[in-house]
């Protein structure tokens, strides 16, 4: 059976420099659907990135900053970007040279589809 997230993942993975796109449960960090390259550990990235996103969302709420719309983690050899939608989080693993603006636009566009499929967040 086709996943309802195929189109969302396709639109993100098409951006040049994006190496993996994962839809995961924000609460559990379990992969719902993903497009990965051979050798990538989607389970590992999903568990850690979803936990990070959840903590960032809770931190922003605690600081009275409102909802997190887009999260970006910069590392020497790449970037991890994420947006949340309902109880799901869309995680992107990209090269350092990726056009972050384009990734952000695609992720924010995808957030609506995640919310529709993932229900309301806690």
């Amino acid at each position: 059976m086709a996943s309802p997230f195929g189109a969302v993942l396709d639109s993100v993975i098409r951006v040049r420099g994006v190496r993996a796109a994962i839809v995961a449960s924000e609460r559990d960090g379990i992969v719902v659907d993903a497009i990965l390259q051979i050798g990538q550990s989607g389970d590992r990235v999903a568990a850690l990135a979803a936990a990070l996103y959840r903590k960032a969302r809770l931190s922003a709420g605690a600081a009275g900053m409102g909802a997190v719309s887009f999260m970006q983690l910069e590392a020497p050899h790449g970037r991890i970007c994420a947006v949340g939608g309902g109880e799901l989080v869309l995680i992107v693993v990209a090269e350092s040279s990726v056009n972050v603006g384009l990734v952000r636009v695609e992720l924010l566009r995808a957030a609506g589809a995640l919310t529709a499929a993932g229900g309301a967040a806690e």
Partner: protein, 157 residues
Amino acid sequence: MTMTVVESWIEKPLERFVRDAGVELALLLHPSGQVLAQHGFARAVDVMSACALAAGIHATAGELGRMLNGRPFRGLHHAGRTRQVFLAEAAWPRGTYIFLTVFGPDSSLGLVRLYFDELAAGLVAAAPAELPSAAPALEGNFERDLNRNLAVLFGRA
């Protein structure tokens, strides 16, 4: 919360698991129900109860898996409203053991599964080569061994 272990080589891998996965309780036990290590429990009686229940759940899930699937289920996850339980089998050269952990909103099933795999690998790496194989508990020795392990964990040995 304190961690106590019956055999010292278990401590480091388990300590790392507890820290990285952010769990509240952790219990490593023999399939017979005898405890090997615990984290987060305050009373021996709670450890004893948790071990008995975990061993029972493991045996039941194993049989259910054999009936339905031809092979035993090796992992179990139960999500409560605020706390979740993860129970899985860890195998290393000495035999098979059961691992039970309880975690809250500070952790997640994904993190627990991820670090459980690392714990299992860490235990294999840390286990001394000269350990005897885990013999099934004999009825006559069971209570004596159980009490000895609980005494070691809770400082009454």
